[in-house]
Subunit: 247 residues, 6 copies
C-alpha cells in the first residue's frame, strides 16, 4: 500500500494537524513508499527501529517520535537514529497529543472505559485544548485500584482524598500537573502515567487521590487501539512492539 | 532583624535577579518585618508552613515556592496557602535556579564535591544559562554509586555506559533531559534527582550512565548550605525542616 | 448562596472570558463560599473593602480590581489588600472591559441611552474588539451637555467641532485615545470619562467635540446596572458603595 | 547649518537610540537641509507647526512627535500634519523618553533641581530603563508645594503621606503609575505631570504624597534646557513656542 | 466620485483586510476626495506618480506600494515620494497579496486561464494562506512555453522535469520558493515571475519544470483586470500605466 | 583529522555562533569523524554532494546549506539529500552570514579588495548586525565595471547615479534591498550578487548605481578564501567544486 494513502488516513483519523504540540505529529521521516506492514510502539528508539525491521515492517507508528520543537542539526543521537531509518527506508510516523486526546481510541478515553466509566467531559488543558477525559463512577478507591492493577500490574498511588470516588479524570503520560484543575473541576481521582516530586504536596494540600500507572503503561492503550483501527481500515499487516521502560 | 536586610542579603548572595526562571525568585510573600528565626525547606506546602510556625520562624526560605509563571487569581490551593501565610505574617522566600546554579552552595556544586570532584565546567543549558556543573574523576561507576548511597540512602541508576567514569555532570531535580548535552560534552556519568520515562531510550541509545538521587534528596544540599551561610552571616536563628517526598 | 453559582452567573452574563484585557476578569480573590450579600463598587481599595465589610457583604464586585497583567509577588500594597480580603474571607470579583462593552448594562450603552440615543454601532477598538458604542442623535452640543450635567454634575468638555451633533460615540473611563477613530467613523461628539494631555491637540486638529464625565462618573452606570441584574436574577441582597475620586 | 549636523548632534547628546520607546525618537520628518533657526515645543500639532513657520524656523524639535509605534497609513490627521510639514519643508525631530531621562537637561532632573534637590538615584522603570530621578530633601510638603507653585502656577496635589518630606522622586508627564515603586523605594513625595483616576486609591492606600504640575508644565523644563544647549553648541537661532494645554 | 466610495468598493471586492501581508493593503496615502480618474500600475515610483498626474488621475492603484512592515520615519526616498503625493493630492492604494490571490482577477488565476487551464486548487502557502492556484492540463511543456511567449514575449525556464505536463501551479512575482510545495502536491510545472539563485538546485533536485515570466510581466494581468472591474463597477475613467522593469 | 577539531577551528575562525541567521551555521550534518579531505562549494545540492564523494572528501563546506529556520520533517527533498549524506558519512558544514561578514575572508571584504578598495566601514544591516563592507575609491563607474568583468565575466548593472564614484558598498548574494541604506550612508555604488524587480524603482528614485555580479559569482570569493585558510591551518587536503548556476 502506498505510504501516502496510509499517511492520509492517519492524518485525518487522528486530526493530526488540529493540535498545538511540541511533537511534530504525522510523518516525521519518509521511508519506502511501498508499505505492507506497519509496526506500532510507544517510543521511537534504536530498539523499536530494530524490532520494526526484524518483523519486516516498512513503517513504524509511535506515540513519542524523534522530532520535538523542530531540529537544527543532524548530529549525535538524531544522526544515528535518522541514519538507521533512512538506510533502511523505514518510515516513522508520530502521534503524540492527537493520540492522547482522541475520543475513540485515545489513551485517556480508553483508560476510563477500562474501569467502566464513560468519557463524558473533556479535561486537562494543554496549550488551550483539553487533552484528557473525565467521567462519573460510583466506586470505592480500592475497587478502581484493583481493576487497574489487574490490567497493568502493580501501579502507584497517593491517597489523600476520600475512599468513595465519583468523578474520575484521566491524563496519560505526565499528567501529574493537572491536580489543581482536577480539584477545581470537582474530580475525586486523577489517573495518570508518571508521578513527579512536584505533585506530592499539591496532591496532599488539595486532598486529591492519584493513581499512576507508569508512563509506558498509560500510553499502550491508544497505540494498540490505533493499530487495530489501522489494520482493519487499511488492510495492511500490523504488529505491536512491546518495549516497556518500567517508568 | 529587618526583613528588608535579610531579603537584600539573600538577593545579592544568590544573584536572584540574574536568572531567567519560571519561578519568581526572591521574596514571594511579604510577612512580618521583624525576623528572629528563618526556617528552610525544599518545598513550600501547608506542612512546611505549619512546621515553620511551630518552630517560631517568621520567614521560610524554600527551593520550590508557590508562584510560578506569575498568577492571575487568588483561588483554590493558592488562596489557602496565601491565607495561611498572610494571617500568620510568615514571609516566603524562594530560590529555584539560583540555588541550583550557585558555585559555592548550589545543589550541583555541592553534590559534585560530595563525591570528591571539583566543579570545573558549567553544564546544563537552561534558557541560555548553564545551571549545573561538571568535573573530572578517576573512578569506577560502582564506587560513586556507593558514596552516594552512603549519603542519600538507596538511589536509582541506569548503567548504559562504561564501568570506568571520568567526566561527571550534575543537574539536580529534574535533570534527565540533559543526556544528549552530556553525550556531546563527553560526560560519562550524569547525576540528577528525578528520572523520567523519556530519559530511558535516550540514555540507552547514548550509552550514558545515570544516577538519580530522588528529586527531594538532590535538592537538600543547597538548601542546607544556604541555611548555614545565612545563619553565619546574618546572625539569626535558622532551622532546616526535613519533609521528604520519597520522590 | 454558593459563591460558585454567583461566579458562574456573572461569568456567563458578562461573557467574562470573551475579552482580551489587562485585568484578570472574573473571580480575583476567593473568599467565603456562603454569600448572602454582594457589594458593588467602581474601584477595589482598602476603603471599598472596609465598606463592604461594614455593610456585611461576603463578596465585592468591582470594575477595577487588584490584579492587572498577572502578579509575581505578594508584597507591598497587594499584600495589604490581599491580607485584608483573605482574613475577612471577602471575595473579590472584577469585570473590566466586559462591563464597558456589554450591550445591555455596559457603561457605554448605558450612557448613550441616558442621552436618548440607541446604541447602534460598535465603536472603539481595544486589542481587536470594539468596546464602546455609537448612535445617532439630532441635537445641539449644548443640549447633550446639559443632559449629562443634570445627571453627573459638572462635566468637562472641549468643543472643537460643530454645534450640531449627529453621530455620538461613547468610550467610558480613559477613552480620549479614540479621537482619530471617531473622526474616521464620522463621529461628531465623543463622550468619555477622563481627559488627558495628549488628547488636546488631537481633538483640536481633528475638530472633534469631546465631553468628559470624569473616570469615576462614567463607570458607575455599568456597575449599578449589573448590581440590579444580579439582585434580581440571584435573589441575593446587593448594595452600591459610592466612593468617588473626583477624577 | 546642515540638517545632518544638527540631527547628529541631537542624536548623540540625547542618546536618542539608547531607549526603548513607543515614540520614534530622532528625526521623524525630513525637511529642508539648510537650517538657520530651530523652534522648540512640547507638542507636535498644527498650531506648533504654524508657529514654527511664522517664526521662520526650518526645524521643529518636540517632546511629543507624530509617529508612535510606527504607522501603516498616511491618512486622516497624520496626512494633514505630514502634508503641512512636507509642503513647507519643515523638519520634525522628537525626543520623548530621552528627554525625560537625561541626567543634565532631562525634565526630571531639572524639576528636582528647581526645588533644590540634587538628582542622586535613578527612579521609575519604563520597559527596563529608569527614566526618572530621586533625591533627598529636608522639607515640609508645604514648602515644596510653594516653590513649585511659584514656578508653575497653581498645581494639583494629593496629600496622603507625612508633612515632612525626605526622599522625593520625579517622573514628568504621566507618572502617576509609579506610586507603588515610590513606596517600595522609600519615597515620601512623588512629583509628576498628569494625575489619573487609577492613582487615587493607590496613593491613598500607600499613604503617598503626590504633586502634579500638569503634563504640559512638567515637560517644558527639558525642552527649554535642550533649546539652550542646542543654541549654544550649534550656534543656530532658537525659539521656544509656548502652547499650553492646561492639562 | 468620493474617494471613500472607491476605497470601500476596492476593500470589499479584494477582501483587502483578509490577508496577512508585509504590505499595507488598502489606502496607503490619502489624497483628494474627489476622484474622476484612477490610474493603475504594477509599481509605486516617482515615474508612476508622474504619469498618473500627467494623465490627470487623482488616484493611483498599485500592486507594490510604498509602505511595507510599517514605517518609523518620513525621510529619504519615502519623504520624496510622500511629498510628491501629498503636494499633488494624489491618493495611493495598494493591493499586494489580495491581488495575487483573488479567484477572479488575481494574477495567478488569470495566468492559468491564459494557458487554458481552470484554477481548481489553491496553492502556495504564504503565512498560512494559499495565495496561488493550480489546475490540470494535458500538454507538452513546449506548447505552454509557446503560449506564454506569445503573450509575454521571451520568458525564462528551467526544464528539469518531464516533457508532458499535467498539473500546473502559478505563483506570480517571486514564487520560486514554492518548488518543494509543488513537488509535494504533484505539480509538473510551476509558473512564476522572478527566478532566483536559490531555486536552481532545488528545482534540479526535485526534477521540477519552471517557467518564469518576469516579475513585472507576471503581475500585469491582475492589475489590468482590476482596472477593468473598477472602470465598469464604479463608472470612473481608468488608465493602465505600463512601466516595465525588464525584471 | 578528527571532525571535531575541524568543526572547532571553523566555528571559532568564522565566529559561527555570533550571528543571527536563518541558516543553521556550523555542522549541519554529522558524517565520518575521520576527515582527510574537505570539499568546498557555494551550494549544497545532490550535485555538490556527488562531486564531493567523487573527489574523495569526507566533508563538504558550503555557503548555502540544507537547514534553514529549522526543520520539522525529514521528507521529500530533505530526505533524499540527508539519506545521501548519511549513507555516505559525508559531513556538511554551512557558513552563511558568517562568511559574508568576515573581515578577512568574507565575500564582501574580498570583492572590495578586488577593485583595490580597503574595507573601512561596516555596511548592510541584517537583523541588527552589519554584514557588508564599504570603502572609498576615486574612480569612474566604467573602470570598476571593467575590473569586475575581467574577473567575473559579464556582469549586470543599473547606472542611475554619477559617473564618478567615491564610496562603494558591497553586499554579496541578494543585496539589492540595501539601496536606501546605501543612499543614506552616502554610497555612490552598491555592488551585489543578484538583482530583483523591487530594486529597479528604488535604485532609480535614489539615483543609485548598482553592479550585480550574479549570486553565485559574488559568493565564490569567500568560499575559496576559506578553503585556502582551512588547507593552510589544518593541513588537510582541500578542493573547490565549481558548480555555477548562471544566476
Amino acid at each position: 500500500m502506498d505510504l501516502k494513502l496510509i499517511e492520509g488516513f492517519l492524518d485525518e483519523y487522528l486530526n493530526v494537524h488540529g493540535f498545538t504540540d511540541t511533537s511534530t505529529n504525522g510523518l516525521q521521516v519518509e521511508g519506502s513508499h511501498d508499505v505492507e506492514k506497519i509496526a506500532f510502539a510507544v517510543d521511537a528508539s534504536m530498539q523499536s527501529f530494530t524490532y520494526a525491521l526484524e518483523c519486516e515492517a516498512e513503517m513504524l507508528v509511535v506515540h513519542h517520535g524523534i522530532i520535538w520543537n523542530g531540529v537544527d542539526r543532524i548530529t549525535g543521537l538524531l544522526k544515528e537514529r535518522l541514519k538507521f531509518l533512512l538506510e533502511n527506508e523505514l518510515s516513522l510516523y508520530a502521534a503524540h497529543i492527537p493520540l492522547d486526546a482522541h475520543p475513540e481510541i485515545g489513551n485517556n478515553a480508553m483508560i476510563l472505559r477500562y474501569i467502566g466509566v464513560e468519557p463524558e467531559d473533556r479535561f486537562g488543558d494543554y496549550k488551550g485544548t483539553k487533552i484528557g477525559y473525565a467521567g462519573y463512577a460510583n466506586s470505592e478507591f480500592e475497587e478502581i485500584l484493583e481493576i487497574l492493577e489487574d490490567r497493568f500490574g502493580e501501579v502507584g498511588y497517593m491517597k489523600f482524598g476520600d475512599d468513595y470516588v465519583e468523578k474520575i479524570a484521566v491524563v496519560s503520560g505526565r499528567g501529574a500537573g493537572y491536580i489543581e484543575e482536577a480539584k477545581k473541576e470537582g474530580v475525586d481521582l486523577l489517573i495518570t502515567g508518571e508521578i513527579e516530586h512536584s505533585a506530592y504536596h499539591t496532591a496532599k494540600d488539595c486532598a486529591m487521590n492519584i493513581i499512576y500507572l507508569g508512563h509506558y503503561n498509560s500510553e499502550t492503550p491508544g497505540v494498540k487501539a490505533l493499530m487495530n483501527i489501522a489494520g482493519d481500515k487499511l488492510g495492511v499487516e500490523v504488529e505491536f512492539l512491546d518495549i516497556p521502560t518500567d517508568l
